[in-house]
Symmetry: C2
Subunit: 195 residues, 2 copies
Amino acid sequence: MAENSTRTAYTADTLLAVTVRVFNERGYDGTSMEDLSRAAGISKSSIYHHVRGKEELLRLAVGRALDALFAILEEPAAVTGRPVDRLEHVVRRTAEVLIDELPYVTLLLRVRGNTATEEWALERRRDFDHRVAELVKAAAAEGELRPDVEPRLATRLLFGMINSIAEWYRPGSRTADGVAEAVVHLAFDGLRAEP
Amino acid sequence: MAENSTRTAYTADTLLAVTVRVFNERGYDGTSMEDLSRAAGISKSSIYHHVRGKEELLRLAVGRALDALFAILEEPAAVTGRPVDRLEHVVRRTAEVLIDELPYVTLLLRVRGNTATEEWALERRRDFDHRVAELVKAAAAEGELRPDVEPRLATRLLFGMINSIAEWYRPGSRTADGVAEAVVHLAFDGLRAEP
DNA sequence: GTCTATATGTTGATAGAC
DNA sequence: GTCTATCAACATATAGAC
């Protein structure tokens, strides 16, 4: 607040937006602080004024993605109704959130667990997946899913399908709603035409 | 040939197996030649006797994965019969090959295109995806798939599901056949129980 | 086919001026 | 909040002996 420079003047948050873009372009390990400084238009040492280091930038970015995903599980339609309907809601919303927070979720999905921060992110992801797997199990127990579906395996393939959106989605090409709808339709009804 | 040392004595191929394991554990960018030399039990400079450098190791590894995938498209069941059956064959076999060549395909799927080698790998992957997309289009044109399925989008989600196997599959837990069967079933028939 | 030693560049991070 | 200057550590790769 109370600034008068014509532009720039980063906060941790605006710097994060630039950072995440570069991390996604070059990979976290493939991105140097020099790369970040060039992309942000400030010197390397200026970055250290905003954050403690490169790993903190990663933590802030994936934390944002994780918070957005966990918020889905608190939505009314995710906690009330038939398990299969709650599952459908979570699947649709996960696809939507992935698109709304595309760069942050993309980065999250590429984390492999080599540092403490990455391990923490993986742990939270596993927790999210586990809670959705419980929903799949509940729907299966109610007879709302095909009886030969293995809940654990189905959950993994389901997330595989959803998460792969990050590999190709670019804003403008399709709406988040349209993609989410296609995911729900394919996941619940499959590709094959009715006999 | 004509060696008498009690063990080791690398060829480019056996060195590659070690290398790919480390690349997958630490990431390509996160792996140093020092890491590779420690994992292989030989010095850094010995590695340069077998390959020109780090990038050549990547090229050899992803090349192996790509060759295995393209071979699927030449199989008799992939070139003869109804499009929907050919598609089902390719989907099943892609899942199986992914598991058979797990470390190599895993590495391929993580490539992002920052070097010439990675760009070349992405290009071949796109070509493979494109050829499967043609199969989806053909099946849709024959009325063998749901009419509201967009071929291009469906192909992407399909590969998302298949490729995600690399994220969690570990030998011994399940058979390749079982996983491939689940993929085919989920992709073609969906999760939902019959009404 | 392997080694030790080394050249040469890049990395993440800090010190301290403005 | 930004900068220039600098550091110690680590990177890929090469030279040349055995």
